[in-house]
């Protein structure tokens, strides 16, 4: 049975997968889902209730009939459009943070595991990184690098790197002792070939699982940073930014905070479930290894 068929039989994997595929379609098709430009302000439509049908004024004097499914915010922007476009940012952040953290983590982990001279330097640096609470470290990095999409991705990825490094290093250390790797070393196989042919295929499943959990935590951390006003610039519609803007008038207009949350929470949940399902199917030893 193919790996995907085995995964598909797992209910948590299937639920997470279906939700994320749907969300990806929504994010890609955002312009065609009854949205307006999420950045456009219509000052005549400030803090309108959810579900109201209005004529939305676009730049250039064009007015379009439009339904404010989730109401409008304090600047007269359509919250529904901002939430739908916000899905793009969350998915981008999730994908790139996981990729950056896994790639950098694999490089450092392999260096630490295979080249003993670098081990203690790399691992002490990782210990130091782990002493920072993740949001605090990300805040400091964003403050230093300036807030753009790419710096936020780096800032959210850095606190996740030590987890990958530890995982990869421990796998490299145990694989080094395996007879097939010892044989390869005895045959004078180049280190790069040993890594490519023997180490990486064995490390793949736990890395994919770990990467999925990192993606979930990236969505959460990015939202928290934006929510604090320390993440992506306020003009980019992200779920955290929408909530940050809605926060000041929460008691009158709770929708500005609660509607983005209706997307944020299921997204994190779905990625976590995807990870749980993959762990159960691909890598049953995983939970014991990280505990």
């Amino acid at each position: 049975m193919s790996t995907f068929r085995r995964l598909w039989r797992n209910l948590t994997f299937r639920f997470g997968m279906i939700f994320l595929v749907m969300l990806t379609c929504v994010a890609l098709a955002a312009p065609f889902l009854g949205t307006v430009d999420p950045a456009v302000l219509d000052y005549s439509l400030i803090n309108r209730p959810a579900g109201e049908r209005v004529d939305f004024a676009l730049p250039g004097g064009v007015t379009v009939p439009h339904t404010l499914w989730m109401g409008s915010d304090a600047y007269g922007r359509d919250i529904y459009s901002r939430v739908i476009y916000g899905a793009r940012i969350s998915l981008l952040v999730a994908f790139f943070v996981a990729s950056v953290a896994v790639i950098v983590g694999v490089i450092l982990g392999v260096l630490a595991g295979f080249f003993r001279g670098l081990d203690s330097l790399i691992m002490r640096t990782m210990d130091a990184l782990m002493a920072f609470p993740s949001i605090l470290l990300a805040i400091a990095l964003v403050a230093a690098l300036g807030a753009t999409l790419w710096t936020v991705i780096v800032a959210v990825a850095v606190p996740e790197i030590p987890r990958v490094v530890r995982l990869v290093r421990s796998m490299v250390l145990s694989l080094r002792e395996e007879p097939f790797v010892e044989a390869a070393i005895a045959l004078a196989t180049p280190t790069s070939t040993i890594l490519r042919k023997h180490v990486m295929p064995n490390a793949m499943a736990p890395l994919i699982v770990q990467g999925t959990f990192i993606a979930a935590s990236a969505v959460l951390t990015e939202a928290a940073l934006s929510f604090l006003g320390l993440g992506l610039p306020a003009d980019i519609p992200t779920w955290g930014n929408i909530m940050a803007e809605g926060r000041v008038q929460f008691s009158q207009y709770p929708g500005n905070v609660l509607f983005p949350a209706l997307f944020l929470v299921p997204t994190i949940l779905a990625i976590n479930l995807l990870g749980d399902g993959m762990r159960d199917v691909l890598d049953p030893k995983f939970s014991k290894r990280t505990a």
């Binding site: 210990d127 130091a128 920072f132 604090l228 909530m243 008691s251 905070v257 609660l258 299921p266 994190i268």
Partner: protein, 315 residues
């Protein structure tokens, strides 16, 4: 045991030094110029140079780090660029709300999670066990600021049972209710993840202990089920539980930063956010160092508590 304590303290030094170097570098390499922010829009170049000199910003990076690290060792974390107060003083002013929030959350989480996890392990597969599984999946997916606002919406806006936001200092018994009433929602919001985390590890450890011979022996000699669960199963699950509490401190600190913003609590978290928005370097450095030291210290205490919870461990 004293030797072990000294060893652990010595081992913590390079980690803390690395923490200090990282924070120092991150913030020094940033593009913002604190002198320009302090001077305001109408400052001349001469004003800027003077401010830079008075703050030591014209010195080399290594010299600045050396001066800062030397002062830190004497308990001097420098002066805030904006508040005309020492960083140490600022931290002490803001520590009470943060401690109230963090310790209260931890206490609440333990009170709820220990019985929950134990009973779930005792009746594994029962309704409470399944509810706990659902709750912990949800607990990890719902960010603390979302929980916070949902709680505010129901308890403060809809039913007006509790004050919305703010903090009341605890100076005497009369302050107890005003203090606690403003903290109940933050405790609940921040506590959710910890209840999930601690209950899950309690369930796993207790269920493992329940399969041991000593539990069968305890039951065989006629002890009541509650005594078996608490004195034999839960007591033997203490070490993993304490470990997870120690590891959880890092996310507790992250959570405190966010929770204080949601509930407008004037603690170390809101101090951090304000300091970053103002590019107040000494305050950021001091706070991150403070949090790093706290994390290392708490985990040292956790390591030492193993001696108490598991007398078989001897260092």
């Amino acid at each position: 045991m004293l030797k072990y304590l000294v060893q652990r303290l010595v081992a913590a030094v390079p980690v803390l030094l690395m923490v200090a170097v990282l924070v120092f570098l991150i913030l020094q390499l940033s593009p913002g110029d604190p002198a320009a922010i302090i001077a305001g829009d109408n400052a001349t170049d001469k004003d800027l140079a003077q401010i830079r000199q008075s703050l030591g910003l014209d010195r080399s990076l290594v010299a600045q780090f050396g001066i800062w690290a030397g002062n830190v060792l004497q308990g001097d974390l420098g002066y805030s660029f904006f508040q005309r107060k020492s960083v140490t003083e600022l931290i002490f002013q803001r520590i009470e709300p943060t401690l109230s929030l963090a310790l209260g959350t931890l206490a609440l989480a333990l009170i709820v999670a220990l019985p929950l996890g134990t009973i779930a392990a005792w009746r594994m597969g029962g309704w409470l066990d399944r509810a706990l599984t659902c709750f912990s999946v949800a607990g990890f997916a719902i960010p603390v600021f979302v929980v916070g606002y949902i709680l505010i919406y129901f308890f403060s806006v809809r039913f007006e049972l509790l004050p919305i936001q703010g903090y009341h200092r605890l100076n005497g018994w009369a302050d107890l209710w005003p203090w606690a009433s403003r903290l109940i929602l933050p405790w609940l919001a921040l506590g959710m993840v910890y209840v999930a985390l601690i209950a899950r590890i309690t369930r796993a450890s207790v269920s493992e202990a329940l399969t041991e011979d000593y539990v069968r022996t305890a039951r065989a000699k006629g002890l009541g089920e509650s005594v078996v669960l608490i004195r034999h199963a839960l007591a033997n699950a203490a070490v993993p539980i304490v470990t997870i509490v120690g590891i959880g401190v890092a996310s507790l600190i992250s959570g405190v930063v966010v929770t204080e913003t949601v509930f407008a609590i004037p603690g170390l978290g809101s101090l951090t956010v304000d300091a970053v928005l103002n590019r107040d370097f000494p305050v950021i450095q001091g706070l991150v160092l403070f949090f790093g030291v706290s994390y290392v210290a708490i985990n040292l205490i956790v390591d030492l508590s193993y001696l108490f919870f598991d007398p078989r461990i001897r260092y």
